[in-house]
Symmetry: C2
Subunit: 160 residues, 2 copies
């Protein structure tokens, strides 16, 4: 039980990065197969952010962890490709709500289907209990670091 074992092994950060990419690449590959081709990588986070219903730009900004200007341009791109639409907020004329269009809902459904499929693939290798274990463990670590609220998912540009 030396302390050096961790240093010479593949760093955890690299494993996490590779595992993340494995999922994301698999997702986009399958989406392309199904005909979804005009996607930008960051669309997915917005999509998942709108899963529970409309959100304001500010809320999306908090979710993504970037500047509001960047999110504004991202949403603009999603409006142009027909995945979301903007509405003026019912109670606040300054704000606008972003919500999924029909097409956006179909994309979201496809994404969730594929995620399920990919998780099933993982389960074939390590078993479903392990996956749930990873989920719980990471959740615990994150909550211990950030408190109850999960942190923003930064644009992920920066890395190791």
């Amino acid at each position: 039980m030396t302390t050096r074992t961790t240093a010479t092994a593949v760093p955890l950060a690299r494993l996490l990065a590779m595992a993340f990419r494995l999922l994301i690449d698999g997702l986009h590959e399958r989406l392309a197969e199904r005909g979804w081709r005009d996607l930008r990588p960051a669309f997915g986070f917005v999509l998942l952010g709108l899963r529970g219903g409309p959100a304001t730009l500010r809320e999306l900004t908090e979710l993504l962890g970037t500047s509001k200007q960047a999110v504004s341009k991202l949403v603009e791109a999603m409006v142009e490709t027909g995945y979301v639409k903007r509405r003026t907020h019912p109670d606040d004329a300054r704000a606008k709500t972003v919500q999924l269009t029909q097409r956006g809902h179909r994309l979201l459904a496809a994404v969730e289907e594929i995620y399920d499929e990919l998780e099933r693939q993982w389960a074939d290798v390590i078993g479903r209990e392990r996956i749930e274990g990873i989920r719980e463990d990471l959740d615990a670590v994150l909550r211990s670091a950030y408190g109850e609220a999960l942190p923003a998912v930064r644009p992920l540009g920066p890395e190791a």
Copy 2:
């Protein structure tokens, strides 16, 4: 044991992304505290790639998963900041080897120290066995997807 549980929970990809960021942010925070300030996010992957000794640009390109031009510029930046140096390859006059300088070795040592420290923090929350479990599980999934060789760690620009 419904199939819907996974869809409504936090997607695994998001958890992996957040966990990765937690490590990376922690790393850069602590590096900055120790006076390492002229770092670029991607330096770390090159650093770890050179851990085992000199490598050619081509090998680094495979490791990082980006274009050789991007790696060339990245290495150039690391040469300018004094972390690595280039040499012409002993057996191949076309190729150049990239290797750590003294300063690069000191940085690498700091990085590994901090990774150990961060893993110890994780261990305080979920226990060391769980960390090793995650490591093994991710490793198994990755190898099942890519074969024996671990895949490239893409610049991580693209995401969800």
